[in-house]
Amino acid sequence: MSFVEWLLSFVYKIKTFPLIIQITIVLTMFFLISTFALIITIYTIRKKHNRVQKLLKNSVPEIKKLFEVVLFENEKYDELEFFERFKDIVEEVNRESLDLAVDVLVEFKNEHRESDMYLFIINSLGIVEHLERKFDSRSNSEKMDAFQEAFVLNLNKFDSKILVHAYSKNSQIRNEARNSYLALSTNDPYRFFDEYSGDLTKWDEIELMQYLKLQSERGNLEGLGKWINYSKNDSLVVFLIKMVGYFKQKGIDEILLEKLEDDNAKIRAEAILTLGELGIKETEQTLIERYYTEPEICQVSIVKTIKKFNTGKSLKFLQEIFSETNNTDTKKIIGEAILNYSYEGKIAFQNLKNSLKGFDLTILKHIETPLIKYK
């Protein structure tokens, strides 16, 4: 009997079985075939992986060596010569090998190894074109890579590419594009500041902050303060106030004082902290007057700001609120402010220690001991 005849007779036989058994046989065969296919897939994945590993093992140290001599040892090549040297190492300059080159450059940048020759390598190998291809790729992970690699390599030549993605239907890509625009655009980096829908995520803040750092290095941070007034998005306003303090932006005292009257306690709290960061000491009395009418988040900000001002004028106030508050976390912050509040503060802290007992005394000892890093 041939195989075909056997198969046909088997199929005929199956038809005579109860339905449940028929289903079971079909599914069992499906499971068997799938398992076999999966094993082949595992083998294929591993084979590809091993090939890539081999390439990495052989090429990456050589690529690093070549890049290092150009970047840090000032060895001179012309662009064509450098391209040929790179080609000798990787055998073929393609997507895969250019990705390796970008990875090596990103690694150097992340290790803060600075050089004026990065642009030479980028131009010689056509990395801008390579990243443009990644921006145009259908794969979202390629696009995400391109955004980040362009930022790390400090390439701001992708306005048009990013603009396309800034209106993408995919919210993650759209978000990444809008954040990246701040760092990668030459024309109007703040263009998308007022187009954020809903609250910023903490990740948005982290990304925006590093892009702002880049703008700060380029000397393009002047317009930041105005957005505090323009924006209707409270989470963006909170973030921008924080950044104004971080980058020590001057000339926005009026805006900050205005924000002290905002309905949103988070905005008020951040404005208070930024007054401290910018050292606007003339507001100290205003802050003390506000203390009792503000919610806890703002009260904590007021204490931190007074500690930052460190004028020596508010010691009595700090002692007063220390004895009044029942919240241990707030007490720790106030106690720490007293301890670090000039020479008088240290004496007042010791006096407090002598007068207090029990858990309050433990709080003071907790603040004082250098053994506890995070109070």
């Binding site: 079985f17 068997l32 398992t35 903490k202 982290i206 590093q210 995070y374």
Partner: protein, 522 residues
């Protein structure tokens, strides 16, 4: 009788088929979730986070009870985590061995004045230790009276923590250095409040560990931990990643989970008497959010960030699984109001019923099935033409789903260096349903029985063998190190294990931290 047998046959067939279908759906869901994760997360994200002033603080909390064999290596592992702002809190839950003494000696600890606030009630807190060595300034050791459960110790750690997020882990776990950066990312990038994030755990039994850092991952040599490795990958990559797509993750493992501290405290912390503290905590937090009509998300990442020592033999496996089963029973007893309750939406109508029917009831149904098959055998009711086929149907499916999981694992990150190691796992999948599964069923039933008969069950400690850091490396240890070993320790009645521990400690002490160590980066 025949009618009853018929009903039973149909029940089993549809039960098994529903389970199979659910696995297929979960496999599809997890595929989508893994791809989504891979598309939007890169290693450059880690660098961004590490260099950011806005990275939120994380408290790493690890309870310890009689962990003298591994405590030092594991605490060192926790201290090597790569993150800009974190603290490590070890809660010594009234250990009766030398756990605390070893910690004091190794990390140069002294008692510190610590304003400990009992936000969650625990067994009495005794004292806090901090290190005098600036290298270990982020380490805090809390000493408390034994609470009988890991949950009580976690609560004490929560009370002592200062940061808004915490990572709960076990001291027997070795974490990947980038665990914190990887696990905080879903919290940072979500517009909805993420109350917890989990990641995959694997077995450390055959891995190379140097100074508390995993440097080479291998599947375990011994059969029991290798079965468990496969089981863990299946449970995390297929189960939890699948559930993550529809925001219905049933629990975040007690071995490795990141939580929002504010919500954890508002939900009342860990159930102090719970033996399934992880699932209990997750359920409390989710219920708290739903009771207060707050939107929430539970995240999962497909990366393996944690390596734990798996039970090396059946005896220890039995102890571990009995405790888990008991904990599951306790969980369904404590949170019975959630089961099939529409008020709790997906949790009450999908996740809880699924876990109840396909995890909690499964060992009971299986055991009943075996007994019923024996009965049918004696009464001649077994259809020998088709019975093996039905058995083969379930068996082939089990192998197929394990193969899918191995592929998902390879898709995520290739932890094993060689193809042979991957194929070892596949071979494990072939024998797992025959050798391992019946054991798990038996231990689960034992756990249920123990819960119903209210037998006491102590803190979930597992007899540790300690990390050997590869026997081949031990051969290279200087003779001097051996001679320097404390003679008292060599004469200790703990014998073999103790000596093994000493050699590792001394080697670690003498080894200069060098650039040779290349940690596994996920």
């Amino acid at each position: 009788m025949e009618f009853f047998v018929k009903i039973y046959e149909y029940f089993i067939f549809f039960y098994a088929t529903t389970l199979i279908l659910s696995y297929i759906v979960l496999a599809i869901f997890s595929f989508i979730a893994i791809n989504r994760y891979k598309n939007y997360n890169t290693d450059i994200d880690d660098e961004e986070l590490l260099n950011s002033k806005l990275a939120p603080g994380i408290s790493v909390i690890a309870p310890a009870y009689n962990e003298e064999l591994t405590i030092i290596v594991n605490v060192k592992s926790l201290l090597t985590l790569n993150y800009p702002l974190f603290e490590v809190i070890i809660v010594n839950d009234g250990s009766k061995d030398k756990t605390l003494e070893l910690l004091i000696k190794e990390f140069d600890l002294v008692e510190a004045p610590f304003a400990y606030v009992e936000k969650i009630k625990t067994k009495p807190y005794k004292r806090t230790f901090k290190s005098q060595n600036p290298r270990y300034e982020i380490l805090t050791v809390i000493d408390k009276e034994n609470g009988g459960t890991k949950a009580d110790a976690f609560n004490a750690g929560l009370n002592a923590s200062v940061f808004p997020y915490y990572l709960n882990t076990d001291v027997d776990c070795i974490l990947a250095r980038n665990t914190l950066t990887k696990m905080i990312k879903p919290i940072l990038s979500s517009k909805v409040r993420v109350i917890a994030v989990g990641a995959t755990l694997r077995m450390s039994n055959n891995c190379e560990i140097e100074e508390g850092i995993i440097t080479r991952v291998r599947p375990p040599k011994a059969l029991i931990p290798r079965f468990q490795e496969l089981e863990y990958i299946r449970s995390y990559l297929l189960g939890k990643m699948g559930w993550e797509l529809i925001n219905s993750v049933p629990n975040v493992s007690g071995g490795l989970g990141m939580f929002d501290k504010e919500i954890a405290i508002k939900a009342g912390g860990y159930g102090a008497d719970s033996h399934a503290e992880d699932m209990d905590m997750m359920t409390r937090m989710a219920a708290h959010m739903m009771n207060n009509r707050l939107k929430y998300k539970i995240g999962y990442i497909p990366l393996s960030c944690c390596w734990t020592e798996g039970p090396p033999n059946i005896k220890i496996l039995s102890r571990q699984r009995t405790r888990w089963a008991r904990g599951l029973f306790q969980m369904f007893t404590d949170h019975r109001r959630i089961l099939f309750n529409p008020k709790y939406r997906r949790l009450g109508l999908i996740t809880f019923p699924y876990i109840f029917i396909f995890e909690f009831l499964a060992p009971i149904i299986e055991a009943f099935g075996i007994l019923f098959t024996i009965f049918l055998f004696f009464y001649g009711y077994i259809n020998w033409n088709f019975a093996p086929l039905i058995l083969f149907y379930s068996y082939t499916f089990a192998i197929m789903i394990s193969s899918v999981v191995i592929i998902w694992d390879q898709m995520t990150f290739k932890y094993y260096n060689t193809t042979r190691e991957v194929l070892t796992l596949f071979l494990t999948a072939i024998i797992e349903p025959i050798l391992y599964h019946p054991l798990i069923m038996f231990f689960s039933l034992k756990g249920y029985f123990s819960f119903v008969t209210s037998r006491e069950l102590a803190w979930g400690t597992m007899t540790r063998q300690g990390y050997e850091t590869e026997k081949k490396n031990e051969e290279n240890v200087d003779k001097k190190n051996k001679n320097d070993q404390n003679p008292d320790d060599q004469n200790n009645s703990n014998g073999e294990n103790k000596n093994k521990k000493n050699s590792v400690f001394d080697r670690l002490k003498n080894k200069k931290s060098s650039g040779e160590l290349e940690p596994i980066k996920t």
